[in-house]
Symmetry: C2
Subunit: 406 residues, 2 copies
């Protein structure tokens, strides 16, 4: 189908999901290498952590029932040492550093600076309760707790948590592998002399940046996907077709930027795939998707903002489904309150300025008829649902400026 | 000073700023390589873009005053072609594709699917206004507009915008170069057999993850800083001291994780630097900073969340100042409304669960006495100002879970 007619509602992307092949290969991954990976099997704590009371302050480990009192210092346990040979009897103390497991008999830590040292003795003048300055057994995690459920994309924070309790390997789905084809005779591809590039732009050439933006979005917000290969082709259709089939053979999905429209130099319609061609979204109407043997081929606009819209509305939901993701990782997405009406029957992406007003994050649409990111005050892009939004509505915004008051 | 007494208010970090040496080396960087770089000289558009009317739709370029009408197709201009030899006379049309500069004489584009083609002619049945389906000259940017002011950290979106208008090089400050020293005899460092690592953790060892989290935060939220070198040392003080002085010689700043406390195995106080030792923040009180010949040395806790707190409150403001940053890049920071009171006189960082409630992003503190990230429902960390917050207050949250409704 060459011309775009009978555009699909964006919700129709859901119809693609049953057609694509989900990743079912699972591999064991060391936790320290697992940031961005999708958990394939619930990660359950196999033990309490800490297994023993653990000092949360530098000082003297004692039996709390013997405080206040005078204690003979009988030894030292530094963090990282495992000394089950030392026992703390009433009237005795052992010097411990933060993170050390308390020796047998001790259940509290008196801070180093809270004691008076007298030769081999320390004097503790006040009462210290059980587990004072101590992380009790199981306080980080209890055996059997699901720390990351199947479908969770592990973040650096998850990895810290898992390593802290000694969970050093996880089962993860293999990453999705994607190839991107940027099309267009107009494209010039860095590296190139910057001055030459400027001259070419003023004569109608375009520096490839749309596929780069798509790849950046995937790297940043979809770490469970690896962009394995990127090519830039001209508008010779056979060249585009060659790479589509090559990438279909080698990867799980193919993304084409440019050539999604109906013109004589466009490609997606020439491929002859059946699928969803064109969506009720603005910009990015030519966004298309077809599924070939369980592998999606996406057609995106050649314009950066339109392609980004297509990625967010169409590519991301499909790839997330293929990657078995149920808990996506954090990102620069925030909720903001619209500062004015945005009208329109189609789903839209609009550039916005963000400002903090009385503790509320306000998104003010930026008037720009073109499809680039040239307005210096732009702080992000807001997703407007079909039918538009009213002033005061709350919408998701992909922020690319820090909105904190610093 | 060994013991922590007379902790500094976090606002006192401002006193460090005049002591550090700001980056003054400027280099010319190709725009496509400039993501994360700090603009050293306002980036000003040297020309209008587009320089000529540019098709925003595939179709037939005509003179709008001649519509409706019948036009003889006299040529084709595809995107990327520069054809100032073709002129469109009244009664003539030229086929153009999206992004092509309109030939002389044309000022509107009639969509391909809106004409009737009759041999060499096209029939246009309705009136098309001037600049219909056209990006007028200067609509992307006007000559002289400051597209990125000095101090702006360039994002992928900025780079797209600059490239789109043909700005192919920018002046940027050189990146800050930092070395990180993770200290502690208890540390075990991947790669290591995961099962062995688990056994060691249960016997009191700690898998190095704090310095990794610090490096991740810097890579993700401070792209103007490059972590040039990371070492893990034991607690032999001479080894730590050796790296501190080596890194001071080679880099712009030094970060030490662990050893910030007052115990016998701690390091920061043994270095003997004068500076700010300890802050009124929780966790992370031992956070310290000293400036040696204009270069800061930071001491952070060995606990991940405490070190992160120190990075956000102390390291980031200082390095941002050194890097000349006035407009930091976007990140996972959002504003959220506290779902309950958080009390405390000190500045705090608390783990929170985030939920959307009636269009509002609610942050609910997670009760965890320990210093890790083991609670599966944690979505981010909220910064609580000195004095605490009341239910209903809006606070900044570093989100690491996607809070969008998907």
């Amino acid at each position: 189908m060459r011309y775009l007619s009978g555009l699909n509602p964006v919700a129709k992307v859901a119809e693609v999901l049953p057609l694509v092949k989900r990743i079912d290969q699972v591999e064991k991954v060391a936790t320290w290498d697992a940031v961005g990976r999708v958990v394939a099997k619930d990660v359950t704590a196999p033990h309490d952590y800490p297994p023993l009371p653990r000092a949360s302050y530098d000082g003297y480990a004692v039996n709390s029932e013997a405080t206040p009192g005078r204690f003979r210092v009988v030894g030292t346990v530094l963090v990282g040492q495992y000394r089950r040979d030392i026992e703390v009897k009433p009237g005795e103390a052992v010097y411990v550093t933060v993170g050390a497991f308390l020796p047998e008999g001790a259940d509290a830590v008196v801070p180093e600076e809270a004691v008076e040292r007298e030769g081999d003795f320390v004097v503790v003048k006040s009462k210290f309760e059980k587990y004072a300055n101590v992380d009790p057994p199981g306080s980080y995690v209890r055996k059997g707790t699901v720390m990351a459920s199947q479908g969770t994309v592990l973040t650096p924070f998850d990895v810290v948590g898992l390593l802290d309790v000694g969970i050093t390997a996880v089962y993860a789905y293999r990453r999705l592998r994607v190839g991107i084809i940027a099309t267009g005779d107009e494209l010039i591809v860095p590296p190139i002399d910057p001055e030459v590039a400027t001259e070419l732009v003023l004569k109608g050439k375009v520096i490839e940046s749309t596929a780069s933006l798509v790849a950046w979005y995937i790297d940043t917000y979809m770490p469970y996907v690896k962009v394995e290969e990127r090519v830039v082709t001209g508008d010779k259709h056979e060249e585009v077709r060659f790479y589509v089939y090559k990438f279909l053979e080698n990867y799980d999905a193919v993304i084409i930027t440019g050539g999604a429209g109906p013109s004589e130099i466009d490609h997606f319609y020439k491929l002859g795939f059946s699928g969803l061609r064109g969506f009720r979204m603005k910009p990015g109407r030519p966004t298309s998707v077809a599924v070939i043997n369980g592998k999606p081929v996406f057609g995106l606009s050649g314009y950066p903002i339109s392609a980004l819209h297509g990625v967010i509305r169409v590519v991301e939901p499909v790839l997330r489904h293929m990657a078995n993701v149920t808990r996506p990782p954090g990102s620069g997405w925030v909720y903001a309150t619209m500062a004015q009406d945005v009208q329109g029957e189609m789903a839209q992406i609009v550039r916005v300025k963000l400002e903090i007003s009385e503790g509320e994050l306000l998104a003010r649409p930026i008037k720009a008829k073109h499809h680039s990111f040239t307005e210096p005050e732009t702080c992000g892009v807001a997703l407007i649902p079909p039918g538009g939004t009213k002033k005061g509505d709350v919408v998701p915004v992909l922020v690319f400026r820090d909105v904190r008051k610093l």
